[in-house]
Every structure is written in structure tokens, then in C-alpha cells.
């Protein structure tokens, strides 16, 4: 009996404590919540908000539970605090909770700021989950922006401008999510960026903001509204700039990845050839600047991309500028030359003849019959004389007289053409720089003529060499 009385007493005391806790009024809890929120105490804010919501779910809820001004803030504080905790802990469940809380707040009172915020969070979640086709967030934040714009009687203030920039950046980020596969066509994101730029232009933008919106508008429009491809292209160029400054493996990989994605998502032939050209350029730059990598891998890659670009140029005739066309030809020619040069240099250390033949086979990719029994390059490019010269070396080393003579003759003519000189007035017109360059060609020509006994060639080369050397000596003497 005594035991039962004791248990009853314990129960009554416990029940009394519980009641005391429950007895805390929603109004008091709300005041505490407000204080905790203002003190940036996120975890306590969330706990208090949960208590209020739980208490309000009871059958006999207090009056405050029915006040929109109280409950919209309870959900707002809860959502924003959950988001703060999410940014620290990176737990996606918390982000989902935060979105739900803000949506509840919005249901109670359509505050456009809240719409913008939960839209922002929805997009952030989509990006985090690599779900590029979850576009509801963009629609919601845009709705928030339009309502804020209306709130301010259709004028743009700094806050709204800031939101517009956040919106644009998120739309872009979402359209490149995930990086390696396209879940949408990107048309919606491009449209939203254009809408944001249109709205931004309604205000007085400073130079920096104007540039921001101009850049993104261009990115949303170019290449048939290809925001995704344009963004990868821009990221590729930015990474390339960094890579040129600091050519290490990391920046090379980053640049190549971005440019390859720009190529994969390009919509026009024009864009494809441009990206192929850029990929060739970075691979050649990597080969030139790296000492610890296998040069052949980069050269093979560069040659493959350049050949693809050139084939598109010939077969599809894209509407590109002369400058771009020349650049494509240059990188293709250069990648072939570098590869020929690479195999040629291997001849010292490996099977000599095999290396020379390999070099020749690569070089022949750019050669066509010239209808005079010889060979000529498919196109002229900036530096094409160097390839002829190297192939002449190959001919010399392999003992192929016809090929060596044909190539050195073309190399000499190409060198004169590049230097804008004619053989007849060579001595009077040649400058010191050009003389020192031309003499290299003359030397190889003489070497070939000597080996294969070409007396006539030696006869007309002798005065040319003499003149070039004397021109160079003038400069040496002058410097002395």
C-alpha cells in the first residue's frame, strides 16, 4: 500500500513537471525564438520552432497558433535557421527541411522574399544532388523576384539587383549540372538568364553590373541559345589563361575538361571547329612546357583534334572568320610539324630508320601530289616552310633523293614567300633577321645538294649563301 502511494506521488510530481513545460505559452516560446534567431543561435531557434509547431498541433491550440503574423515567422525562422545549420553541416536533409519550412511560411503569407529564398534553396539542392532537370527552384525564385519588383513599384534597388545576379549564377550553374551529361536542352535556363538580363536593364546599372549582365546575355544567346556550351567555353578559356601562366598538370586537365565539354555541348560547326582548335593549342602548349610527361601522348592528341577541325573545315564549310580559319590551319600544321620533329629527334636514341619513316608518314598527312611528280602541302600556314625543311632532313637521312630535293626546294621557296622576298633581289632586300633565318635553309639545301651531287644547285646557292652570311656579319660587326 505504501509502495503504491509512493509510486502515485512520483507520477504526480513527474506529471506536474511535464505540465509546467507544456504550460510554457506559445507567445513566450515565440519571444524566445525571436531572441534566439536574432542571436544567430540556429539550433535553439529550430528547437523552439519545433516546440511551437508541436504545441500548435494539439487539439486545443492557443490563439497565437492561429495568428498568421506569428506562424509565418515561426516557419521563416525555422527555415532560415535550418539553412544556416545546413551550410555548416552540409546535410541535405536539413536543406529539404528548410525548403519545406519556407514553403509553409509562404503558404501563410506570400512574402516574395520567402519565395525567392526557397527557390534559391531548391536550385541549390538540385545542384548538390546533380539533378540538372529540377527547374522548379528557378521558377519559384523568378516569381519572388517579379513580386519584389512589383513591391518596389517597378523599380530596381541594390538588393533586387543582387538577387538578379544570384539568380543568373544559379541558372548557369544548374544548366551545367551534371557536368558530363545534359539532362535538359538548356533552353529554359538560357531563357531565364535572358529574362533576368532584361529586367536588370530596367535599372541604372554601374559599369561592373552592366558588364556582368552583358556577358551573361551573350552567353545565353550565342551558338543558338547554347548557355551550357557557352558557359563551358568561357570556363575553358579562363582555365586556359591560368594554364598558360602556370602550365602544370592540374590546370592542363582542368582546361582540357572544360574545353572538351564545350565541344561536346556545342550546337554549331563553327563552335566545334573553334573548340577543336583550342584543344589542339592547349595540348601543344602542354607538350612544349612539360618536361616530365610523355610528349608523344599530347602530340597524338593535338594532331587528332587538329585533323578533326580541319576535316570539318573542308567538309562542312562553316561560316567562320578568315582569322579563325588561319588559326585552325596553323595549329594543324604545327601539330604535324611538332610530331615530325619529335620522331626525327628520336632517331638518335632508337632505331634510326624506323624513326625517320615514322616522321615521314606523319608529315605525309599534310602532303598532296603537286602534279609535277612531287608533293606539296594541302594548305599554307604560318610556319609551313619549317615542315618542308624538316621533311627534307628526313629525305636526306633516309637517302631518298627525289623526296629530299623536292622538299628542300619547296622549303626554300616557302621561306622566301614567308619572308616576302624574291630570289632575284634577295641580296639587296634581305634584312639581318631574315638573313639569319634563310641561311638555315641554304645550309640544308647545300647539304642535300652535296650528298646527291647536284652541281647546278650548288652553283646558284653559293652566291646566295655568301650574300646572306655577309649580311649577318655586318650585324655582328656592328654589334662589336
Amino acid at each position: 500500500m505504501k509502495k503504491t502511494s509512493l509510486l502515485l506521488a512520483v507520477f504526480l510530481v513527474t506529471a506536474g513537471i511535464t505540465d509546467a513545460v507544456h504550460a510554457q505559452k506559445v507567445a513566450d516560446l515565440f519571444e524566445q525564438t525571436k531572441a534566439a534567431y536574432e542571436a544567430n543561435n540556429s539550433k535553439q531557434t529550430v528547437d523552439l520552432c519545433r516546440q511551437i509547431i508541436q504545441q500548435c498541433e494539439q487539439s486545443y491550440a492557443e490563439a497565437e497558433c492561429r495568428y498568421t503574423n506569428v506562424m509565418k515567422n515561426v516557419y521563416l525562422y525555422k527555415g532560415l535557421s535550418e539553412y544556416k545549420i545546413y551550410t555548416e553541416e552540409q546535410d541535405l536533409d536539413l536543406l529539404t527541411e528548410a525548403i519545406a519550412s519556407l514553403q509553409q511560411s509562404y503558404e501563410l503569407y506570400g512574402d516574395p522574399n520567402v519565395t525567392f529564398n526557397f527557390g534559391y534553396m531548391q536550385t541549390q539542392r538540385a545542384i548538390k544532388m546533380q539533378n540538372g532537370n529540377e527547374l522548379e527552384g528557378l521558377v519559384a525564385s523568378w516569381d519572388g523576384i517579379l513580386s519584389m519588383y512589383a513591391n518596389q513599384e517597378w523599380t530596381l534597388d541594390d538588393e533586387l539587383l543582387k538577387n538578379l545576379k544570384i539568380f543568373v549564377k544559379q541558372a548557369v550553374e544548374l544548366t551545367v549540372t551534371p557536368a558530363d551529361s545534359a539532362m535538359t536542352t538548356g533552353r529554359f535556363a538560357s531563357f531565364m538568364v535572358r529574362q533576368a538580363c532584361d529586367l536588370a536593364e530596367q535599372g541604372h546599372l554601374n559599369q561592373e553590373d552592366r558588364l556582368f549582365f552583358d556577358v551573361y546575355r551573350k552567353r545565353a544567346i550565342e551558338d543558338n541559345y547554347n548557355l551550357r556550351g557557352n558557359e563551358w567555353r568561357a570556363r575553358g578559356f579562363a582555365a586556359e589563361e591560368e594554364f598558360i601562366q602556370n602550365p602544370d598538370d592540374y590546370s592542363y586537365r582542368k582546361t582540357r575538361t572544360n574545353l572538351e565539354l564545350a565541344l561536346r555541348f556545342s550546337k554549331s560547326i563553327e563552335r566545334q571547329v573553334e573548340m577543336l582548335k583550342e584543344l589542339t593549342k592547349v595540348a601543344l602548349h602542354m607538350e612544349k612546357n612539360s618536361s616530365d610527361r610523355l610528349a608523344e601522348t599530347e602530340l597524338v592528341y593535338a594532331r587528332e583534334k587538329a585533323a578533326q577541325a580541319y576535316n570539318l573545315l573542308v567538309e562542312r564549310r562553316p561560316n567562320i572568320t578568315i582569322d579563325l580559319e588561319n588559326e585552325i590551319k596553323k595549329v594543324y600544321g604545327n601539330s604535324i610539324f611538332r610530331m615530325v620533329d619529335y620522331y626525327f629527334s628520336l632517331a638518335d636514341s632508337t632505331d634510326r630508320l624506323n624513326a625517320y619513316y615514322k616522321a615521314r608518314r606523319v608529315g605525309e598527312e599534310l602532303l598532296l601530289p603537286d602534279r609535277k611528280g612531287g608533293w606539296k602541302q594541302k594548305f599554307k600556314w604560318d610556319g609551313y616552310e619549317e615542315l618542308y625543311l624538316r621533311l627534307a632532313d628526313v629525305g636526306y637521312e633516309t637517302g631518298d633523293e627525289a623526296f629530299a630535293v623536292d622538299m628542300i626546294d619547296k622549303a626554300w621557296k616557302a621561306a622566301l614567300h614567308s619572308a616576302k622576298l624574291s630570289q632575284t633581289n634577295l641580296c639587296s632586300d634581305v634584312t639581318i633577321d631574315k638573313a639569319s633565318n634563310l641561311v638555315l635553309f641554304v645550309d640544308v639545301y647545300q647539304q642535300i645538294a652535296n650528298r646527291f651531287g647536284l652541281q647546278t644547285v650548288l652553283h646558284w646557292l653559293r652566291p646566295i649563301r655568301k650574300c646572306l652570311v655577309s649580311r649577318m656579319n655586318v650585324s655582328t660587326n656592328r654589334h662589336e
Partner: protein, 185 residues
């Protein structure tokens, strides 16, 4: 709820403009609201045309849904302004009704476009279509047969009348049938 709050908000802004600036007359408010209404109708058209540029495929479904939602939001704004105008004026000009109706027709078509058997979307399309017709009941020339004040391009095809657009986009006559089933024939 959202709609009511937004509508109330528009009314609030108009009221503020009306009371705070005496120089700002009723006519000026009306004209600025009309400008805004035309501007938002322009946005509705823009979204509609942009959406039509997408091919119909499973890959584009999410995007088309997003366009549909965006167009609905712009249409709601056109309707809010229309309602505000009806509140501040004793009688409403036919022009405002026409603008609101055109936006609703396009919203109905967009809903239909993405419905793919979704009952909610089909219901919403029917309601918008009915509301649009109700708004323009008694017009001298039926809105569907009026020449549009703007061009609608879908692919290579130019539409100058909503009737042509409806004929092409609602080939199964879903909207017509929903009128019949609601007994409004």
C-alpha cells in the same frame, strides 16, 4: 491564397499611388497599369514561343513543365492587373478583357501541351479556356477571330489569330470538348 495575397498587394500599391500623390490621377494609374498588363502579356507570348521551340521528347518534358509554370505565373500577373482595374473603374474597357482572355487562352494551350494525360492539367486548361471565353462574351468580334496585335511564330509558321493557333495546337479538340462537357455549349 498566394493569388489573393498578390492581388491584395497590387490593390494596395494602386491605392498608395492613388492616395499619396494627388497629382497622379486615376487616368495615369490606369495607363501605367495598362502598360504593365501589355508588358506581361508580351512576356506570356515570349514564354509560349520559347516553349514551342523545344521539341517534344522525354528529355524536354521537365523544361516544358517549367515553361508552363512560368507562363502561368505571368498570366496570373495579367489577371491581377485586370482585377485591379475592375476595382478602380466603374466599367472595364473591352481591351483589358481581351488582353486577359488572350493570356488565358495561351495558358490553356500550354497546360494542354504538357498535360500528357494529367487530369489536373487538363482540368486547369479547361477552366482557363472557359474563363477566357466568359471574359470576352459579347465582344463585337470574337477574340479568337481577332487579328492579334503581335505575331506568334512557331517554327516556320506565323499565326495572326488565336483561332488558327487553337486549331493547330489542339488537334484533338480537347478544349472544345471540355466546353461541351461543362454544359456551356
Amino acid at each position: 491564397m498566394k493569388f489573393t495575397i498578390r492581388a491584395l498587394f497590387s490593390a494596395f500599391i494602386v491605392a498608395r499611388l492613388f492616395f499619396n500623390s494627388p497629382a497622379f490621377g486615376e487616368e495615369q494609374i490606369e495607363s501605367s497599369l495598362e502598360k504593365l498588363m501589355v508588358n506581361y502579356e508580351g512576356k506570356v507570348i515570349e514564354v509560349y514561343q520559347e516553349m514551342q521551340a523545344l521539341e517534344r521528347s522525354p528529355q524536354t518534358h521537365q523544361e516544358r513543365l517549367a515553361f508552363d509554370q512560368l507562363l502561368s505565373n505571368y498570366t496570373l500577373r495579367v489577371l491581377e492587373i485586370y482585377k485591379t482595374l475592375t476595382r478602380i473603374k466603374a466599367f472595364t474597357l473591352e481591351n483589358y478583357k481581351t488582353i486577359a482572355a488572350r493570356a488565358l487562352f495561351l495558358k490553356a494551350l500550354t497546360n494542354l501541351d504538357v498535360a500528357e494525360g494529367d487530369r489536373e492539367k487538363l482540368k486547369s486548361a479547361c477552366e482557363d479556356y472557359q474563363q477566357a471565353l466568359a471574359l470576352t462574351r459579347g465582344a463585337k468580334i470574337p477574340v479568337l477571330s481577332q487579328t492579334l496585335p503581335y505575331e506568334i511564330w512557331i517554327g516556320d509558321r506565323l499565326y495572326t489569330k488565336l483561332a488558327e493557333l487553337l486549331d493547330d495546337q489542339d488537334k484533338d479538340r480537347v478544349l472544345l470538348r471540355c466546353m461541351n462537357s461543362s454544359g456551356n455549349e
